[in-house]
Amino acid sequence: MWRYALRRLLQAVPVFIGTTLLIYLLVFALPGDPIQAMAGDKPVPDTVLHTLRERYNLNDPLLEQYGKYMWGLLVHGDLGENYDGQKVSAMLGGRWAVTAKLAVTAWVFELLLGITLGVWAGLRRGKLADTLVLGGTTLLIAVPVFVVGYTAQILLGVRWPIFPSAGIDDGWPYSYLLPGMVLGSFGLSYVARLTRTSLAENLRADYVRTARAKGLSRSRVVVRHGLRNSLIPVVTYLGVDFGALMGGAIVTEGIFNLPGVGQQVFQSIQLKEGPVVVGAVTLLVLVFILVNLVVDLVYGLLDPRIRYD
C-alpha cells in the first residue's frame, strides 16, 4: 500500500510539471504581447515597454520564466502579480469560494439524485422505470450544457421564478441550486447509469443469492450486499468528476452570472493577462491531480479485491 502510494505520488510529479509547463507555454509562447495588449491599439513608449517587460521577467527565456514562476509558487506560495500590479491571489481570492460552492452543490446533486435514480432503475431492469432513467439520462448527456442552462434559466428562473435566475445575492445554497443542477446534470447522468449497470450486475452475483437464501430482508440484501459493492465505480467517477466540475464551471458561471474563477480566467485570457490565467489553471490542475491521487488510493479501501503491487 505505502509503496504504491509513494509510486503514485512520484508519478504525479512529472504530470504536474508537464501540465503546468504546457499551460505556461500555451499562455506565453503564443503570439500577442501582453504589455501591448494593456494599451490596446495605442503605441506604448519603448522605455515603458522595456521596464515592464523587465519587471515581469518577459525578456528571459520561457523555461527560465517558468522556473521562476514555479519557484515563487511552490516555495513562497506566491501566485505573482498581474501586469497592472494587482496580486493574482487577491484577484482570485473570493472567486474560489464561488466556484467551490458551485462545484460542491453540483457534486452533492449528482451524488444524491444520481445514485437514487440508478438504484431505482437497477432494481427494475427492463421495466418502465429503467427505460425512463436510461432515456432521460441519454438526453441530458446529449444536450450541451449551455442549452440545458439557458432552458433551465428561462423556465425555472424567469417564467416560473422558483429559483433566482442569476447572481449570488441570495447566498449559498439558494442562489447556487439551479446553476448547481445544470452543472451537475452531465455527471448525474453518468452516476445514474453507472449505478444502474453495476447494481443490476451485482444483484445476479452468487453472494447476493447466498444472502437471500439466508433469509435476509430485501432491503438489507440490496443495500448491504448489492449497493455497497456496486458503488465502487461510482465513487471513482464522483471523485474524478469533482476536479472536472471545478474546471468546467466556466459555462455555467457565464450563464448564471456567478463571479467565479472560470469567469475571471475567461476574461483574463482575452485581455492577455497571462499571470492570472496561469495562476488559476495551475491551481485547478493541482486540485485535479490531487483528487485523482486520493481516489486511486481510496479505491483499495473500498474494494479489497484490488491489490497494490
Partner: protein
C-alpha cells in the same frame, strides 16, 4: 468491423458457432443481425443521414444562401409559412442558417475524431504492446494532456490566433481530445497481447509490426470504434460550446454553436432563436451517442 479471425484460430470457432446460414458467422455478422432489429439504431442512422445530407448538399433543403435576402424589418419573428424557423436578429431566414450550419459542425466532429483515433491507434498499440518504458512515457504524456481543462485550454489557444477557421478549431479539439481513446486502446491491446494466436504468430517468426497490424489491431479495434462514435458527439458538443462562448468560429462563418451565441441575449423573448439550433445540435449529438451505444450492445455478447 474487420474480419476478426484472420487466419489461425478462426475457422474452428466459426465452424462451431455456425448456426447461421451462409459464410462463417463472424462477430461483425452477429452484430449486424443484432443491430438490424434495433429501432433506435435505425432512428439514429436516419437522423445522421439527414444531417449528413444537409452538410453535403444544402441546396437540397433550401434555395437560399446564408444571410441572403435579409430584411431588418422582419427581424426576430417567430416561425411562419415564409420562414419556417422564423428570422434572426438581422431578419435573415433562420431555417437556411440551420441547414448551412450542419457542414462545419459535422465536418469538425468527424475529422477531429478521425485524427484522435489515428493517434489513439498508434500510441495505444505501442504502449500496450511494448509496455515498459514506452508505456510509461506515453502514459505520462497522456496524463499531462488529460489534466488540461478543456474549455480553458482551448480558449487560450484560440484567442492567440484571431481569425482562425475550421482548420485551427480541428487542431485544438484534437490536441485536447485524444487522450481517452489512447487509454482504451492500450487496455484492449494489453488484453489480447498474450493471446494464443499472438504467441503462435510470434513462434512462426512474424515481425512485431506484422503481429500488431494483422493480429493485435483487428482484435483490439471494436471498443475503440464504439468510443470513437460516441466521441464524435462529444466533439460536436465541445465545438458548439466554444462557438457559444465566442472563441470558436467567428461571424461570417456559420455553425449551430455560433447561432446560439448570437441568440443568447434574446432567448427570453424569442425562444425560437434558441430552440431550432439547439434541437438540431442535440439531435445530432444524441444520434451519435445512440449509434455508439447500439453498436456496443451488439458487439458485447455478455449483455445479450
Amino acid at each position: 468491423m474487420t474480419d476478426l479471425q484472420s487466419g489461425e484460430a478462426g475457422a474452428a470457432v466459426a465452424e462451431a458457432g455456425g448456426l447461421v446460414e451462409g459464410p462463417a458467422a463472424s462477430l461483425s455478422r452477429d452484430a449486424w443481425y443484432d443491430l438490424r432489429r434495433r429501432p433506435l439504431f435505425w432512428t439514429a442512422s436516419a437522423v445522421l443521414l439527414l444531417v449528413a445530407l444537409m452538410a453535403a448538399v444544402p441546396r437540397l433543403f433550401t434555395s437560399r444562401g446564408v444571410n441572403q435576402n435579409c430584411d431588418p424589418n422582419i427581424a426576430k419573428q417567430g416561425p411562419s409559412g415564409a420562414h419556417w424557423f422564423g428570422t434572426d436578429l438581422a431578419g435573415c431566414d433562420y431555417y437556411a442558417h440551420v441547414v448551412h450550419g450542419a457542414r462545419p459542425t459535422l465536418l469538425i466532429g468527424v475529422v477531429v475524431t478521425l485524427f484522435a483515433l489515428l493517434i489513439a491507434l498508434v500510441f495505444g498499440l505501442l504502449s500496450g504492446y511494448y509496455g515498459g518504458i514506452v508505456d510509461a512515457v506515453i502514459a505520462r504524456i497522456t496524463d499531462v494532456f488529460f489534466g488540461l481543462p478543456f474549455v480553458l485550454g482551448a480558449t487560450v489557444v484560440l484567442v492567440a490566433f484571431p481569425g482562425h477557421g475550421i482548420g485551427a478549431m480541428t487542431l485544438v479539439l484534437v490536441l485536447l481530445g485524444w487522450t481517452t481513446m489512447v487509454r482504451i486502446m492500450r487496455g484492449q491491446v494489453i488484453s489480447v497481447r498474450d493471446a494464443d494466436y499472438v504467441r503462435a504468430a510470434r513462434l512462426l517468426g512474424a515481425s512485431d509490426a506484422r503481429i500488431m497490424a494483422r493480429h493485435v489491431l483487428p482484435n483490439a479495434l471494436a471498443p475503440v470504434i464504439v468510443v470513437a462514435t460516441l466521441n464524435v458527439g462529444n466533439v460536436i458538443a465541445g465545438e458548439a460550446t466554444l462557438d457559444f462562448l465566442g472563441v470558436g468560429l467567428q461571424y461570417p462563418k456559420v455553425s449551430w454553436g455560433l447561432q446560439l451565441n448570437l441568440a443568447q441575449s434574446y432567448v427570453v423573448d424569442h425562444p425560437h432563436l434558441l430552440v431550432f439550433p439547439a434541437l438540431f445540435l442535440s439531435a445530432t449529438v444524441l444520434s451519435f451517442l445512440l449509434l455508439g451505444d447500439a453498436v456496443r450492445d451488439a458487439l458485447d455478447p455478455k449483455l445479450r
